[in-house]
């Protein structure tokens, strides 16, 4: 059986699991059954994708006799689709394994199980679709299924609001894509990607379609300022679904961008690259700045997703700019960096969301100001969460470092670009990326330190318990993937070679065969990195230090007050809190950007009331983009509302006037 057929059967299997979930959802055995089935199917999907990536088989395509009559549904499995299928199914497998145990906490499993299967099927189908109709259909299917998962907790008004905002943004994104496809197809009526590739819609139409694609896919991936739904919707879902939304679905948005811009449109000016690079840089910095200031753990992770999407888009924009100038190897480097980061982010963001879910299940809290000291209560979760934090903060020898390093290597090639605007702008974006990476480090020091270290800030945190074995296995697996991809990046880069060859016309030189498993993206004289050596150095020096400390230092146990930073008080409130950790960064970077408003209400001497400190942070996207937009729409709606109360005769007169005007236009035009 060809690979694409197996992939299609996987999709059918996911749908079947969803149906089983809908029928049996209330039985106690349904949760492990559905998630177990999804796990098996997702693993099969991973195998298929790996087979295509490593097997080097040519792209296989099938036309299914479903969909619009006479057109059918075109599906195609090429290396790009296989890579994203790998990301999707890897995330899906981990989430399903995690949910076998975690799913027990769902209050109403029937609100989750059916849509879980449907969501996985939708994401897989988007990746395989090879005509505009199938693509949009599965895209909307994915959006609606994930919307249902976001509002699965239908009793909380916050998640309903999140669902509303998400639905609006998803509809807007699909609308943009619909228009883009219309522009690309012109009047031919043939909407297969194979035809759109060769159609050649004309310069203006192509440029307009490219912008629409950036907006449409960017709204799904979380590009500024279209990210506003993401920090609302991702935390509202159950944690394993949050992991899928954040770690995987944003990647489907990125897939759509790559597929449509690099593959289907294919012919773009270097300035498109500039637009994408700049918006990626802005997204990265603003996303991580906002993440630093969060106190809800899952919201912090969601904003950090915005940052990572920005990093991916920096790589993609560079690849666009290089490819438009015919610089294949540089484009291949940038593209490899972006795709590598896609894989990495899928792994560590899922891991971190699983960790947040474990904290939530163990203590019932996701407000970081009420957590703390969990390293004693949840030691295993703490270790894997720390690994995830180190990966996302791009510490060597973990995987986050490799992809960000590759992105920097691509940025360092920017003087090759002939356009002066790009020559100046790209290094500036490099500085933004460096800033974002540093802030991400601070952000995850805060996340780990406040949640797991120190003393518990609430009774819930003091009595937290460790998560079940399924959840731990899922997190451990992802942690191993992070470590393996970080220490042996050459194999990942080689697996990406067929994808970059399809997209940019060239690929990085084969890395796995280099001595000592180093990676050398451009030339030995320029730069090279060896994760394995760094890893062994860290292990060796760490062990050496530990042994030395044990041997040399006194063995006598000493007792001293913990966290006694000059405040020898018992109350855990005297500890460093998340907000106090973020304060310097907030003061330096965010006062203007986010309109931070601090008020201190200090009682006069003798007054008995407590002092209050109030902090208000507003997303600039809401202030400068959506606020005016919403007000404008409201004003227009109030004007148009009068049309609701016209007489029948006037309605007819309106229709009549419209008809006459149209006829006059037709008559005048000829």
């Amino acid at each position: 059986m060809p690979e694409v057929a197996v992939a299609l059967w996987c999709i059918a299997g996911f749908l079947g699991a969803g149906v089983v979930g809908a029928v049996l959802g209330n039985r106690p055995f349904a949760t492990p059954l559905v998630y177990g089935a999804c796990l098996a199917i997702a693993l099969l999907g991973v195998l298929v994708a790996l087979g295509v990536l490593f097997g080097g088989a040519p792209a296989t395509a099938v036309v299914l006799p479903v969909g619009l009559p006479g057109i059918g549904a075109h599906v195609r499995l090429d290396p790009l689709a296989a890579f994203f299928m790998l990301v999707v199914d890897l995330g899906a497998a981990a989430a399903s394994l995690y949910a076998i145990g975690y799913g027990r906490h769902a209050a109403e499993p029937r609100r989750v199980l059916p849509f879980y299967g449907a969501f996985l099927a939708g994401m897989n189908l988007v990746v395989l679709a090879a005509d505009a109709f199938t693509f949009l259909l599965s895209w909307e299917f994915m959006s609606l299924a994930s919307w249902a998962l976001v509002v699965s907790d239908h009793r909380s008004s916050a998640s309903l609001r999140a669902g509303y905002v998400y639905l609006l943004m998803a509809g807007f994104g699909t609308f943009c894509l619909l228009l883009a496809f219309g522009l690309l197809a012109g009047t031919s009526g043939d909407f297969t990607f194979a035809h759109l590739r060769t159609a050649g819609a004309g310069e203006t139409a192509t440029a307009l379609a490219t912008m629409l694609v950036i907006v449409g896919t960017g709204s799904k991936a979380g590009l500024m300022p279209l990210h506003v739904w993401l920090p609302l919707a991702h935390p509202a879902a159950p944690s394993h679904v949050s992991a899928l939304l954040s770690g995987v679905m944003t990647k489907v948005g990125i897939y759509a961008f790559i597929r449509l811009v690099f593959d289907v449109i294919g012919d773009f000016s270097p300035w498109v690259g500039l637009v994408v690079v700049m918006s990626g840089g802005g997204t990265a910095v603003l996303g991580v700045l906002y993440a630093v200031m969060q106190r809800d753990l899952k919201r912090l992770l969601a904003y950090s997703t915005v940052e990572n999407v920005g990093i991916v888009f920096i790589g993609l924009g560079l690849a666009l700019a290089f490819r438009a100038n015919g610089q294949g190897p540089a484009a291949a480097l940038a593209m490899t960096a972006a795709l590598f980061h896609v894989l990495n982010h899928a792994a560590f963001k899922s891991l971190l969301f699983f960790g947040a879910g474990a904290v939530l299940a163990g203590s019932g809290e996701r407000d970081m100001e009420k957590l703390g000291g969990l390293v004693h209560r949840m030691p295993q979760t703490a270790v894997v969460f720390l690994l995830g934090c180190m990966s996302i903060a791009a510490l060597p020898p973990l995987n986050g470092f490799v992809s960000e390093w590759l992105t920097f290597q691509a940025i360092l090639l920017s003087p090759q670009l002939p356009q002066w605007g790009l020559k100046f702008a790209v290094p500036a974006v490099g500085a933004l990326l460096a800033l974002a990476a540093a802030l991400a480090g601070a952000c995850f020091v805060k996340a780990f330190g406040v949640v797991f270290l120190g003393r518990p800030r609430s009774p819930a945190a003091a009595t937290a318990h460790e998560i079940d074995a399924f959840g731990l296995t899922a997190m451990l697996t992802l942690a191993w993937i992070c470590l393996a991809a970080g220490t042996l990046p050459g194999f990942v880069i080689d697996a990406l070679a067929p994808v970059t060859r399809d997209l940019t016309g060239s690929a990085l030189p084969a890395q796995a065969s280099l001595p000592w498993l180093s990676i050398v993206p451009i030339a030995e004289s320029r730069s090279s990195y060896n994760g394995l050596v760094v890893f062994f150095f860290l292990v060796a020096s760490g062990s050496f230090t530990a042994i030395a400390v044990h041997r040399v230092a006194s063995r006598r146990t000493r007792r001293a007050p913990a966290w006694d930073c000059g405040y020898p008080l018992d109350s855990p409130l005297t500890q460093y809190s998340g907000a106090s950790f973020a304060m310097p960064i907030r003061r330096v970077f965010a006062t203007v950007t986010f309109g931070v408003h601090e008020t201190v209400d200090m009682p006069r001497p003798g007054e008995m009331r407590p002092a209050r400190f109030r902090l208000r942070v507003r997303d600039p996207a809401w202030r400068f983009f959506y606020g005016p937009l919403a007000r404008g729409v409201e004003r227009a709606a109030r004007r148009l509302n009068r049309l609701q109360f016209l007489t029948i005769r006037r309605y007819l007169a309106l229709v009549f006037a419209a008809l006459v005007v149209l006829m006059l236009v037709v008559a005048a035009w000829r």
Binding site: R649, R650, F656, V660, M663, A667
Partner: protein, 223 residues
Amino acid sequence: MSTLWFDIAHLFAGGVLVLSLALLYQDRITAVINVFALQAVVLSLSVAWQSVVQGAPHLVATAVIALVAKGLIIPTALHRIVRKLDVHREVERAIGGGPTMLAGLGLVALSILLVEPVVDTADPVAREDFAFALAVVLLGLLMMITRRNAVTQVVGFMSLENGLVLAATGAKGMPLVVEVSVAFSVLIAFIVFGVFVFRIRERFDTVDVNVLERFRGERREHL
């Protein structure tokens, strides 16, 4: 010979259009209904002539339907309604006769301007027919929006329908089914409007639609 045939077809179609304009000008309801009946008769003549010209015997059926339903049954029924409701003396217009006629003339010019180049290559009979038919449709719409009485609005709607029949029969090869369905739809619309008008009358003691608007809680405004 063929010029004569063409001229006669032209005459009938033009007659329908002239009667549409006459319909627009009438002040009294009884006169409106009479002119409408006359228009239906001329329409059926036109359709019958088309059946001779095109050699399409099924158009005779259409002509008969038009004659019986629109020339006879509907006007009689409308006369009865008007008598029962005691509105036959009422003058009701939202826009005065002069401006309405001017607008109507403009619409006729527009439709000729519009149709002439579109069907330039088609058979001249069909071309003239289309121009006239479009004008009749537009005039029917104009009548619907310039009148304030429900009964005259119904008449306007049915004269619009006449324009559709004129267009349908002007083109060759229009199957009978279509015309039958058009006739039926008019009949059903007529019934609905009839019931509707009686209901309004029962409740509000008038068929002036402005009263309905007041009932919906709106300001009374005149164009």
